[in-house]
Symmetry: C2
Subunit: 409 residues, 2 copies
């Protein structure tokens, strides 16, 4: 993609109406545009990141045998009245209609499964969707970490015995950790024991450590699991009593729902036994916000390679020099033809300083600079985001270098 054409525009100043770091950086770098409190447009760079995270989540859900569907967002009042969740703060209701907007989907998936699970032959089943959710958040001040509209993966599993639920619950824990690993967050993300909340008495969260975290967790030095502050009583289930206190962001939550919803909608097996359900949430846009909160420095964002909007930021300085310009175009074509994802800064009107600052702000993992100076050496300058070291590399060796190196960015 040529940056001169790209719908993005970096700005130096922080937006005045944003408090959170993720919103400041994503806005300044042209990844998102705020429409209203907690409501954002994803611009091309932002949508590329969001889609990459979405696909990682999709692949890992498919890998544990979950099947993707797409439920609606416009949801009938009747279903919610049955569970007593029509008059809750979270629900946006449509004026003059018996419809509300989906902020979770137990009330839809449970009656749907009545049509599909006719006997224990059909069990277990795990069904998920990735979809925009809507939630009435009077104080949405955390950028894309807590929106009124946000992208979420919600998975529901159905079983007719505890062992089956427990086994699937453990598989999901592993799948979630694979997601965080692929998003670069594994070292900073902990499984925590959490309170029941709206849903049930038994739940776990995945918490990513960052100074911007709204939650406090206590990490057990013994077993490495953690406990949320609200349910912390100074000892771990492993027996451990030594903890590290950290601020963290919740990036996933999983619940054993038991028979709460299957009873309301009378979902049962052929023996008349109500099914046991699990539910597994992961905020895709929230995860994107968490990545920004974790990977940044005073110059901008630093995307992990799997979720970066592009792999390579090719920057041509001295665009007034025809030799530089021509060689830059040539390199861009070669990189494109090698199926590398390249953002090519071909802007005429920007100074070298502005271009290099934009590189740091946007945070693509590898920067390749071509200028009069490097061209004299028949070279380009290579620099990884987050490292100070630059390296001159002969242009003829570039593709070989990238082929070897791109895996390690």
């Amino acid at each position: 993609m040529k940056q001169a054409d790209l719908l993005t525009r970096t700005v130096k100043e922080n937006p005045k109406d944003e408090i959170s770091l993720n919103a400041k950086l994503l806005t300044r770098a042209g990844f998102v545009d705020k429409l209203a409190s907690g409501i954002y447009t994803y611009l091309p760079l932002g949508l590329r990141v969001l889609s990459k995270i979405e696909n990682i989540v999709r692949e890992e859900m498919n890998s544990v045998g979950a099947q993707e569907i797409l439920m609606p967002s416009l949801l009938p009042k009747d279903n919610w009245e049955k569970t007593g969740r029509w008059n809750v703060e979270e629900m946006y209701k449509i004026h003059d209609e018996n419809l509300g907007l989906g902020w979770t989907h137990e009330e839809i998936i449970t009656p749907l499964m009545k049509k599909h699970i006719l006997s224990s032959h059909d069990l277990p089943k795990a069904i998920y969707q990735i979809q925009s959710k809507f939630r009435n958040e009077p104080r949405a001040k955390s950028g894309i970490l807590r929106g009124r509209e946000f992208l979420m993966k919600d998975l529901y599993s159905f079983h007719n015995n505890e062992e089956s639920l427990n086994e699937y619950y453990e598989r999901i824990k592993k799948a979630y950790f694979r997601i965080y690993e692929r998003c670069g967050l594994k070292d900073k993300t902990y499984l925590t024991l959490a309170g029941g909340g709206t849903f049930s008495s038994s739940s776990h969260e995945f918490q990513t450590i960052t100074s911007a975290g709204e939650d406090i967790i206590y990490i057990c030095k013994e077993c490495g699991n953690a406990i949320n502050k609200e349910v912390f009583d100074k000892k771990c289930s492993c027996g451990g009593k030594d903890f590290i206190e950290e601020k963290a962001i919740e990036v996933g939550n999983i619940f054993k729902l038991g028979t709460k919803y299957s009873k309301v909608f009378d979902l049962k097996d052929e023996n008349g036994k109500h099914l046991i359900m699990g539910c597994y949430g992961l905020g895709v846009s929230r995860l994107m916000g968490a990545i920004v909160e974790v990977f940044n420095d005073d110059k901008g964002m630093m995307w992990p390679k799997n979720v970066a909007p592009f792999s390579i930021h090719l920057v041509s300085l001295d665009m007034g020099d025809n030799d530089v310009k021509q060689k830059a175009e040539e390199i861009y074509d070669i990189l494109q033809n090698s199926n590398l994802e390249v953002l090519y800064d071909n802007r005429d009107e920007k100074t070298a300083g502005e271009k290099l600052n934009d590189c740091d702000l946007i945070g693509i993992p590898m920067r390749i600079v071509i200028s009069q100076k490097t061209l004299k050496e028949e070279s380009v300058e290579i620099k990884k985001r987050g490292e100070e070291k630059t390296e001159l590399l002969k242009i003829k060796d570039l593709i070989d270098f990238l082929k070897n190196d791109i895996q390690d960015i």
Copy 2:
């Protein structure tokens, strides 16, 4: 995918609350599930088709230089009051909030572009999204052809002279025809002159001929273009006066908006000239419904290859026979490993008749049957959906046959 595990369930009877053929067939075949009038869940088979159409649309939009973004669905009242479209029938409003649900996005994209188009240097620009839209339709009776919630691609283009808009408008016409071609609809789809509607006085539609069509079009025998009934005055712009009358479904509409929205939001170039806009809609779920209305017979649906949920329906009869079962599993693995998209009917409890009826109902382009009878000949039976002819093929020749044939399914 193994059919015994798949979240789908075919039913013989037509749903009682559906009038339209697309809703009847998609429901009976387990592609969609109706939640409320004009509101459907896409089950795995349905979501596969929807995603394939979505990706075709995305590729063709990218091919004409359009950039993808994702705007929100929760939209502030202020923007709509400026254009006088807050109090329109289409708009779902959130109770007690100054928010409405997006049924189109001129009111959002136009002020957004004010931040990005600073001079004629930044023109032309074409920006699109693919997103769930919401529209208050009191009488939603056409299945997924006209939903209260539906998936739509909306593209907006920005220009500072008529020639640029006209040129882009023609490129989009061609891109739309490529979409219909890839969806199997090219021969039945016509560009029509249409009335202005909500937006402007100048617009075109793409209409696909089918007996289920809600619209009447007149196709000019001279030039092949068509005219919608509402604006038909018995002669064509080419001079032709001979027409064929047909029923048709609108599967796309394009408008020259002129300066209508750029004036309201004061979007202009550096010379103070208001930008000229075009807008280009295509209902992705509606297109899926149109494909069903066109490609069916009394036994079920008949998906064109590019949008079929799977390429091959492998059906094992005589599942009680271990040799048949084992050979079927073997063939399934081979097909999977050849990167073919296969739905494998491995269900134990279904009769041969039920299985073959389900094949016709679901409508995958190629059926491969293995049974005691075919296995005696070391063969499988091949049949294409929509053809009566069956053919025995030696199992050892299957992959070679498919490699040659899969392009022509």
